[in-house]
């Protein structure tokens, strides 16, 4: 599914990859693709990640990975970094999720009483990137669907998600609801529908396998 999500990233884009799974999209990206990766701790032009041996102690991405620069990289403070996000200069963000709802609501910062890491940069990324894509396992560790009718967890942002990539499917959030676009090899449409809390729209034109 990570490889599948690389299609989102096109030449000339400014892109922010969230902490965790989304960052791993990098590993599958063509190194010659003319794309500018933004990290909210103050870089435009994040270069390949480095091992601890090669690391610069002052150069990490927002997830704490040691990274490098590229020709054209710039550093800036946290206010400029989020100015870039809120002013609409970010073409795409790929985020993780606790839950995504049928209307595009995203929850990924707070599980009350259990685990509240805090919002970090996710609220602004989700609200202001021109395109918001979620990359997540289809179900949580206890087998519950993360694609839900309505979010039970506190929201990160309302109606923000455009597309979801999971290990089971590729889904588009539309005004009519969530449309099943693709399913993983070896799965049937019925299996994906059964594994999903939200009602899925299966187009008459059929569903591709990835």
């Amino acid at each position: 599914m990570i490889k599948r999500a690389t299609d989102e990233i096109r030449p000339g884009m400014i892109v922010n990859l969230g902490i965790g799974l989304p960052t791993r999209v990098l590993d599958h990206l063509d190194a010659n693709l003319a794309v500018c990766l933004h990290s909210e701790n103050g870089i435009a032009g994040v270069g390949p990640s480095l091992s601890n041996n090669d690391a610069d102690r002052n150069l990490i991405d927002a997830g704490g990975t040691y990274v490098s620069t590229l020709p054209g990289t710039s550093f800036f403070d946290s206010a400029v970094s989020f100015s870039l996000v809120r002013r609409g200069r970010l073409d795409l963000t790929v985020l993780g999720a606790f839950q995504v709802a049928a209307n595009g609501d995203l929850a990924n910062w707070k599980i009350p009483e259990l685990f509240t890491p805090g919002p970090g940069g996710a609220i602004e990324l989700a609200q202001k990137a021109r395109r918001v894509v979620v990359l997540t396992t289809h179900q949580d560790k206890r087998g519950r669907s993360k694609i839900v009718k309505e979010c039970s967890l506190p929201l990160t942002a309302a109606g923000c998600v455009d597309r979801i990539y999971t290990d089971m499917a590729v889904l588009d959030v539309t005004k009519k609801g969530i449309v099943l676009r693709e399913i993983a090899e070896g799965l049937s449409v019925d299996e994906v529908v059964a594994a999903t809390d939200a009602t899925l729209i299966v187009p008459d034109t059929g569903v591709v396998t990835f």
Partner: protein, 230 residues
């Protein structure tokens, strides 16, 4: 690779500006004023513009060229004292002038660049400038609501730039340029020197490339950029 090559001809860059657009123009006096982009705008003749700039330059140069060519409907500015033409046009009511305290003008532009909608301040609260402004309270203190000031285009002057649009300013030519470069829908920068991508250190870049849409190299500087004799 980091991204697109944004270098462009000055004709193509400026021709994106349409009649009635709002245009922010960098500079404080001569330093940082994009005279060449302004001259191209004079040549192309777009009209009914709202111009946002710190000052109206001196007669015969910069913003004054747009004023005398009748292209400006409204000027949002902090000071016009060095341009008698602007003062006269305002007094004759052929030019609408909106004054802002200089730092508030800078903040309204920055506010738009930061993707925010407005800010709250006590600056100007006892002056005429407060007359038509909404007020609100924080912790019992009355404050003016100042609205973010965006634009269709920003015209920027840089000392050095790379094709990705990373910009560096020198001396007091920085002033409003980095603020405006972030605030407009489309940011066009002229640059005295164009270097290869990778030739600017990541720490020294003043305006990061993602904010910039077009980079115009100036092969030659006109006399406008020189030391002013007065």
């Amino acid at each position: 690779m980091i991204g697109a090559d944004k270098t462009t001809s000055i004709e193509a860059a400026v021709s994106q500006i349409k009649d009635g657009n709002t245009v922010m123009i960098g500079g404080f006096g001569v330093p940082g004023t994009p005279f060449t982009l302004i001259e191209e705008l004079v040549r192309q003749g777009q009209s009914g513009l709202t111009v946002i700039k710190n000052d109206s330059n001196m007669p015969g140069m910069g913003v004054d060229r747009l004023l005398e060519n009748g292209q400006v409907a409204k000027l949002i500015v902090s000071h016009i004292g060095l341009n008698p033409n602007a003062v006269r046009m305002m007094n004759e009511k052929v030019l609408e002038v909106e004054f802002c305290a200089q730092g508030i003008l800078a903040e309204r532009i920055r506010c738009a660049g930061a993707g925010l909608h407005g800010f709250l301040t006590d600056i100007g609260i006892d002056t005429d400038l407060a007359n038509d402004k909404t007020t609100t309270e924080i912790d019992g203190k009355t404050l003016l609501v100042e609205k973010a000031l965006s634009a269709d285009f920003a015209l920027i002057h840089a000392d050095r730039a790379d094709p990705f649009g990373n910009l560096i300013y020198v001396g007091t030519a920085r002033n409003f340029n980095p603020l405006m470069a972030m605030a407009a829908d489309h940011t066009l920068a002229e640059t005295e020197t164009l270097v290869a991508v990778g030739d600017l250190r990541p720490e020294e870049t003043h305006t990061p490339g993602p904010f910039v849409d077009g980079v115009v190299f100036l092969p030659k500087l006109s006399e406008y950029y020189g030391v002013v004799e007065r």
